[in-house]
Symmetry: C2
Subunit: 313 residues, 2 copies
């Protein structure tokens, strides 16, 4: 006897809150191994109301989960000095800075002021370089993990939760066999995410307004890190039908992924603050994750535990 036919599509919608909960359990385990509450310091020098909301949300999540959080409001012209001071403050375990501040390249300059040992956002050049180069540890004894930027890492954690990462395969190759399309190639999320997924073994199509690039470690994953190949003439019409995972993060509320191009049973994840997938995605997808914000903030706490002074493996 087979299952009855139905009009309701069999798409499993997985909410970020659910995934966050299982990650928080892991964070709680890590916390037990240390004797004090780790202190995260947030710097608010941004005039953007969204920055304040995010700061308050960080504070709430910290306090609810056994971390200390201290918010420091600093005029933007004093922020560089304030960061230099806190870099050497041994009572501080992690630093988060709420951007945008100047809204231009001065913000990228400021990102590099935060000391590597306290950078829980993973924005230091050393961390970003290691990420692109597929270097996973800071030291030659593989004792200190190189921190990954929060939003791309949140997507990785979601794919692990969804069992897209196959734990039968060796660590580092667990996406071997997957073809993933990442829509948006920003320096903040889209490009690092495509690189991370390709370094873990996937063939990734990185799609931006003007072009498509393939990130891949080559047949048999023989290369130790991904290479980038330009795909002239390619568009989503070429990428989506061959992708078993589609991850989209286009800002603004007008963009929608063309659902008719999706492969039947694809895993679809939206990391834009707007919904990049229309509700019809459930007709095609096997799994749909409509938002990731709650996972991102737990990943921040996880990075705080992983970062040098503390413990989590």
């Amino acid at each position: 006897m087979s299952a009855p036919e139905t009009d309701t599509p069999h798409c499993k919608v997985v909410l970020a809150g659910t995934i966050a909960k299982s990650l928080l359990a892991e964070v709680a385990e890590g916390l037990k191994q240390i004797e004090r509450k780790p202190l995260l310091v947030g710097f608010l020098s941004s005039a953007d109301p969204a920055a304040r909301v995010y700061a308050e949300w960080t504070g709430k999540t910290c306090r609810e989960n056994g971390f200390e959080f201290s918010l420091r409001e600093v005029p933007r012209d004093d922020l560089e000095e304030a960061l230099i001071t806190v870099n050497t403050d041994r009572t501080v375990d992690g630093i988060i800075v709420y951007y945008p501040i100047f809204g231009n390249r001065q913000d990228q300059y400021l990102q590099q002021i935060v000391d590597v040992s306290k950078d829980v956002e993973g924005l230091s050049h050393r961390y970003i370089f290691n990420m692109y180069q597929n270097i996973r540890f800071l030291d030659s004894h593989n004792a200190k993990k190189s921190i990954l930027p929060c939003t791309p890492l949140a997507v990785i954690k979601i794919l692990e939760h969804l069992r897209v990462y196959n734990t039968i395969l060796p660590y580092g190759n667990r996406l071997h066999g997957h073809t993933i399309t990442v829509i948006n190639r920003s320096e903040v999320v889209g490009r690092p995410l495509a690189a991370l997924l390709a370094n873990d073994g996937a063939r990734v199509y990185s799609v931006d307004i003007g072009d498509v690039q393939q990130f891949h470690r080559g047949q048999g994953l023989k290369k130790k890190r991904h290479e980038v190949v330009e795909m002239p003439g390619w568009t989503l019409e070429n990428c989506l039908p061959v992708s078993d995972v589609v991850i989209s993060g286009v800002p603004g509320d007008s963009y929608k992924v063309p659902v008719h191009l999706l492969r039947e049973g694809a895993v679809c994840i939206n990391f834009s603050s707007e919904r990049n997938f229309s509700p019809e995605v459930k007709e095609k997808a096997s799994i749909y994750v409509p938002a990731i914000g709650k996972v991102t903030i737990v990943v921040l706490l996880r990075n705080l535990l992983v970062s040098p002074p503390i413990v989590l493996p």
Copy 2:
């Protein structure tokens, strides 16, 4: 007997070529102290024709002045690996990369790949950080100078040539007493230049489209580095009449500095590729430098000699 009155204003126009010549003599002295020709490697991965022109111009200037230059054309997706390789090539003394390549933040990522010891453009975060923080040496023995970015340094060298830097004053304070307006606050030139001039003792008004900021080490230059103070409501009308030096670098050919606001006898320097001063500037200015490109390229050679493996003090 006094000088006769005349209709021709007494403005001295100083061309970049003249200043470059005196700097080249200094570079030639430095070259004599080493036994081989320093090798500068240029990486061309840009589709911008201006990048190629600049690359060819670098090569010509190098060869005419006793340096080796090797131009390497590399597909942009292979540039990161090419830079990593050349970073450890002991036959290479300096690296220059011609931007724009991706034309977005990926270019800033690439700037940080060049090793500090071979970065003759002064774009490494460590150099930029030292510049803003007014830290002039890389080591505690004051043996290795921290490299300054070429275009801001070219302006400094011009101001030294013009005797705006007063060598009666101690090194580091030689602009004490000067008020300087810098028009444009880009991360590439305007902001670093304002910081450098203020760190050398000037009161600097940094003017951008939206606002004016004052960079200054305070009364009596008591602070070891400049502080930035926002000047709400200020415009060029407040800055120009009190500035004895006006430096402008607004891109595009439509912008003109309002000459009627200039202080009589001001020193005027244009670092835009377009002319930011109309010819009437000569009615007001004591000295006018219409362009700086030829100085910038000599500063690059100078940085190559100053950078770690070589000699110039």
